[in-house]
């Protein structure tokens, strides 16, 4: 047996705990049975609610706490000193650490199955199986996402604080609500009994279950990749790139019908993936630790043509940024963003109608990529300084101010010609956007280089 799983089972189960869950859940369900005049439907609803509460609320807390409690207890280094592989450690921890949660949730789940059966609807009939699988998948996804976020925060050392655990749990709960159809109002399962994806009509329930399974697989893969980093395995930055490519392909499937109907050109296919990749670049940029020492190593390796070692040191945002650049160039070559592009590129300060009269809109994605580079450099600049720990927050506030309040003020004052100083503006001439973005990027690149050089002037450890 996986040693990590067994250790967790030792810790999670005792005779008292084994007896406590069935007793508590059984008592509550019996109470429901009595007060509802022996209503099977009422018992089933309570069992379902208990299952969700246990598996999503409690389960995400456990999953978010798995690594944090090792760090707080001083046992994390011991785990890292083991000879277990990243995969063994990942699933042993995720499954073992939440095993008691699943034991308790399993009792509620079995009660739910029993109610269905007693009501004359066996679990394998009339789509019941899909709903039950979705119940199980929801819990697994919520817990996997919570652990994934906690490992991400661990790399930024934020997990040492209880806030980090709570944040991981909240994200896990949101993922669970989304998977269970509670967050989207049940759009997929109730209002859209069928889904059009890449021109084919899919059963809504089945499609959402398949989507849940795929995102669960990505979450577990993410845990595995982050565990590899923790256990000092050397890995290149291709995982985030692979996820970006998957997301591009997945999301584009929903636009298929609309694009076919509009009869737009091939460039239109790239506009949604492009915007997704831009968003994923920002996400990777803010989530990854930006250790100035690591960036210095990367620079030194590149200078020494040690490309194999440099590949391991590359930040995850860089390949995704290059993918965004590639998309922008292709969009520029096709000279077309289509009607979907107009819809997606419009925002609070630019309406679709205004965009229809914009010149060279097909070059606007390229301007976005140039400003994205500027924003990357802003984030790096603040992270490489003395206040590096607050670098992300500082950079985020500055970028937020530039993109929203300040741009909004310039729009309301009808001083739109100044907007390219702050952000790319689709109604500005492409050359103005390019020039402003490039000049700012060049200035910031110099400042970042200076900070990198300063970080190399070492103070002795002891004066």
């Amino acid at each position: 047996m996986n040693p990590e799983l067994r250790r967790n089972l030792w810790l999670q189960f005792s005779l008292t705990r084994l007896l406590l869950s069935p007793a508590a859940i059984g008592a509550l369900l019996t109470l429901t049975w009595v007060v509802s005049d022996a209503s099977l439907a009422a018992v089933a609803e309570v069992a379902r609610a208990m299952y969700y509460l246990i598996v999503v609320l409690w389960g995400t807390r456990r999953a978010a706490d798995l690594v944090a409690e090792e760090i707080a207890g001083g046992t994390w280094d011991g785990q890292r000193m083991s000879a277990l592989g990243a995969w063994q450690m990942s699933w042993g921890k995720l499954l073992g650490g939440t095993s008691y949660v699943w034991y308790a949730a399993g009792i509620a789940f079995l009660a739910l199955l029993g109610c269905y059966w007693a009501a004359g609807t066996p679990p394998w009939q009339s789509g019941q199986a899909i709903q039950l699988l979705r119940l199980l998948g929801t819990g697994a996804l919520a817990q996997a996402v919570a652990m994934l976020v906690s490992l991400t925060l661990l790399r930024r050392l934020a997990i040492r604080r209880r806030l980090g655990v709570s944040l991981s749990q909240v994200v896990g709960i949101l993922a669970g609500l989304l998977a269970s159809g509670q967050l989207d109002g049940g759009i997929v399962s109730l209002f859209l009994p069928t889904i059009a994806w890449y021109g084919r009509i899919w059963d809504g329930e089945l499609f959402s279950l398949a989507t849940l399974a795929v995102f669960l697989a990505w979450s577990v893969f993410g845990i595995y990749r982050l565990m590899r980093v923790e256990l000092k395995f050397q890995s290149g930055p291709w995982a985030w790139l692979a996820f970006a490519l998957f997301l591009m392909a997945y999301c584009d499937g929903f636009l298929y019908g609309a694009i076919q109907l509009a009869g737009s050109g091939p460039g239109t296919w790239l506009i949604l993936p492009f915007l997704l990749v831009v968003a994923l670049t920002y996400l990777a940029l803010f989530l990854e630790p930006k250790d100035v020492v690591r960036y210095r190593w990367l620079g030194a390796d590149l200078a020494a043509h040690e490309f194999r070692h440099a590949w391991v040191l590359l930040p995850q945002w860089l390949p995704v940024y290059l993918l965004a650049l590639l998309c922008a160039v292709v969009l520029g070559l096709f000279s077309d963003v289509g009607s979907e592009g107009l819809r997606l590129l419009s925002g609070p300060f630019v309406s679709m109608e205004a965009l229809q009269h914009a010149h060279g809109l097909f070059l606007y994605p390229l301007a976005i990529v140039i400003y994205l580079l500027r924003d990357v450099l802003v984030v790096l600049f603040f992270n490489f300084g003395h206040g590096g720990r607050r670098g992300d927050a500082t950079a985020f506030i500055i970028l937020f101010l530039a993109y929203f309040p300040l741009t909004g003020i310039l729009v309301s004052l009808e001083m739109t010609s100044l907007i390219p100083i702050l952000a790319p503006y689709p109604l500005a001439p492409p050359l103005i956007n390019f020039a402003a973005g490039l000049v700012e990027s060049a200035a910031l690149a110099w400042l970042v280089y200076r900070r990198l050089a300063l970080a190399g002037r070492f103070a002795p450890a002891i004066a």
């Binding site: 250790r7 046992t75 083991s82 002795p460 450890a461």
Partner: protein
């Protein structure tokens, strides 16, 4: 003897601080090396790099023939590491803690029970195997933590401030344990800034300062590893004592007072044995003959005071 641990050109940076600067040394098997230095000298960073927990910018680390940087997970099977802020699973019994550790280091299932029993016996906790870790005293927790580190019988053991927080009795117990482990063939590095406790069991010393290795030496000798301060006492007065010692080329700084003589001897323990044999052959009534062990505190202070970077050399 062969090198069990060799480190070369090790560089580790924190933002704005070079924590380890071109650190290099090699340590023979079956030795206990005291890793000393002021706070912030880089002791813990060095141990964590050797343990494969932190990755240095440059350098090579070899433990028991394995390249730690290239094979960090494999190298964990040949070493044990006890961090200064170690923790235990309080709700597990001692036996479960040790079994988990053995399994997580991929020991064959058939060997685990024996390994657990042996580790518990080595640390004198075999009579408490069913006791939960959370109920142990500080000293017993320390023993369990060391037992976890050695359950797979690694050739190398790294201990970071192992005596911190221990009472005097537990410290004596720790010293005895380390000496026993060395006798059983382990190579041990112990980091501490409490020199008095290291003195009881260390055979070698590494001094770090400002991220640099400033001294490496065999204890009981001076810096070159071959010169020892020797004291000799006769059972009865003999006029020939001074003349016989002065005739020896390896003897310097001789002082004779009554039955006692003290001098610096330039030679290894084998050559020292030869000198003793010659003195006895000359029918000198030698009652005591011993190389004086220099105080670790004095050695450390002299090493740190020089401030220079030692030539890390292979110690004999």
């Amino acid at each position: 003897m062969t090198d069990m641990i060799s480190v070369s050109g090790l560089v580790f940076d924190y933002p704005g601080t070079r924590a380890l600067d071109d650190v290099g040394f090699s340590l023979e098997a079956e030795t206990i090396t005291a890793l000393v230095g002021p706070n912030g000298a880089g002791k813990s960073t060095l141990l964590r790099c050797i343990a494969g927990l932190d990755t240095p910018y440059a350098g090579e680390i070899n433990v028991a023939g394995l390249d730690v940087l290239a094979q960090p997970r494999d190298s964990h099977r040949c070493m044990g590491f006890l961090a200064d802020s170690y923790g235990l699973y309080d709700d597990l019994t001692i036996k479960q803690c040790l079994l988990y550790r053995a399994a997580s280091l991929r020991m064959p299932a058939a060997e685990r029970a024996t390994a657990v029993q042996l580790a518990a016996e080595r640390l004198a906790i075999a009579d408490r195997l069913r006791q939960k870790a959370g109920t142990l005293s500080r000293g017993l927790r320390q023993r369990l933590a060391i037992a976890q580190s050695i359950v797979h019988h690694p050739p190398v053991l790294l201990l970071d401030e192992p005596a911190s927080g221990l009472d005097p009795e537990a410290r004596v117990g720790l010293a005895e344990t380390l000496l026993r482990l060395r006798e059983e063939g382990m190579t041990i590095i112990v980091s501490s800034h409490i020199l008095s406790e290291l003195e009881d069991y260390s055979t070698h010393m590494l001094v770090l300062r400002g991220g640099r290795l400033v001294e490496q030496r065999v204890l009981g000798t001076t810096g070159d590893g071959r010169t020892a301060a020797v004291t000799l006492r006769l059972a009865r007065h003999d006029d020939r004592l001074e003349a016989l010692l002065r005739a020896e080329a390896s003897v310097g700084q001789l002082m004779v007072e009554g039955l006692m003589a003290s001098f610096q001897f330039a030679g290894d323990p084998g050559e020292r044995a030869m000198l003793l044999r010659r003195l006895i052959a000359a029918e000198l009534p030698v009652a005591d003959f011993a190389a004086e062990r220099e105080s670790l505190q004095d050695l450390y202070m002299s090493g740190v005071a020089t401030g220079g970077v030692a030539k890390p050399e292979k110690t004999a």
